[in-house]
């Protein structure tokens, strides 16, 4: 279970603190096919390995939206309630393929001070996803931490 960040912990965390460092399981064709069905994704480069290779990819391509979904879940797991995620920006740097084993790191970049007494403290976090030593995705999130513990 990932520990959530409450008001007290948010105050104490130093900039640069690693909030989450998580290895995901290897991506399988079953997962990609299931995701395409669940998400309404229709591009066959995600579920047809032969076609993906004919189009010049190393193998079936992991959906960008699936990678965004992992990044979103990573930051959502750090706060309660989940709606405390105020903003999430994601950029894909490199392609990811089936059988890759991604890992996600979320780091505290800084914070926005509350503008009113008792207001919300907003943590700014960077998100990095990688396969081995190669960075595949970068992102940034703003997480709202309420003074009362409830957003």
């Amino acid at each position: 279970m990932i520990a959530t960040i409450d008001w007290v912990r948010a105050q104490a965390l130093p900039d640069g603190a690693v909030l989450l460092d998580l290895a995901l399981p290897p991506v399988t064709m079953t997962q990609l096919a299931f995701y395409c069905g669940a998400a309404g994704v229709t591009d066959p480069i995600h579920y047809d390995r032969d076609l993906a290779k004919r189009m010049g990819f190393k193998d079936a391509v992991v959906n960008g939206s699936l990678r965004v979904g992992w990044m979103a879940e990573a930051v959502t797991s750090l706060v309660a309630p989940p709606s405390s995620v105020r903003e999430l920006k994601c950029n894909h740097v490199r392609a990811m393929h089936v059988e890759d084993t991604p890992a996600i790191t979320v780091t505290l970049k800084g914070r926005e001070r509350p503008t009113v007494l008792g207001g919300e403290l907003v943590l700014i976090c960077t998100i990095e996803m990688r396969v081995g030593d190669t960075i595949t995705d970068r992102g940034e999130a703003r997480l709202g931490i309420a003074a009362t513990g409830a957003a």
């Binding site: 995701y35 069905g37 066959p44 010049g56 979904g69 879940e73 990573a74 999430l88 994601c90």
Partner: protein, 165 residues
């Protein structure tokens, strides 16, 4: 560089410039609107399982924020890309994902009905290392049946020009 590739570069420049100029005149235009769509528990459960993220969600009544971005894509039509928001820029070739930004105003709960509207928000040319790039940003805004704003998703697409793969 051969004359032919130079001609090719010039053709791509014309394609990008003309395509972006056509889109620039349509900034703010609605590309698609849809809904209301009810977010049912089965859809959310399938999405959550498909993500395969370790652990379980802390609050099973709240819809994962990234599912919002996928709502306009339904229903599935296998082997065809039916995303309505991408039909506006067919004249530009070779798209790559330029990033996604979610802005969240409030939580979306299972059982709520959602409406969405996609608009063209930016279209401009940027010089890349190997030539001009067409940058197109579309924003989809989401709101509940009660009229309250849920959030927005900004999608940036970068077009390199040339023939579609």
């Amino acid at each position: 560089m051969s004359e032919r590739s130079s001609d090719g570069q010039e053709a791509i420049r014309r394609q990008i410039t003309a395509g972006i100029a056509a889109l620039s005149a349509r900034i703010g235009e609605e590309i698609a609107s849809w809904g209301p769509v009810e977010i049912d528990r089965t859809t959310v459960s399938r999405y959550w399982e498909a993500l395969g993220f370790p652990g379980r969600p802390r609050d099973c009544e709240i819809v994962p924020l990234t599912l919002l971005a996928l709502l306009p894509r339904r229903p599935v039509d296998i082997n065809r890309d039916v995303r309505p928001s991408e039909q506006v820029d067919n004249a530009l070739g070779n798209p790559v994902n330029g990033g996604t930004t979610f802005t969240i105003k409030r939580a979306l709960h299972i059982g709520e009905r959602v409406r969405g509207r996609t608009a063209l928000t930016e279209a401009f040319v940027r010089e890349g290392r190997s030539g001009p790039l067409g940058i197109v940003v579309k924003q989809t805004s989401f709101w509940g049946d009660d009229g309250t704003e849920i959030g927005a998703v900004d999608r940036t697409t970068i077009y390199r020009g040339g023939i579609e793969r």
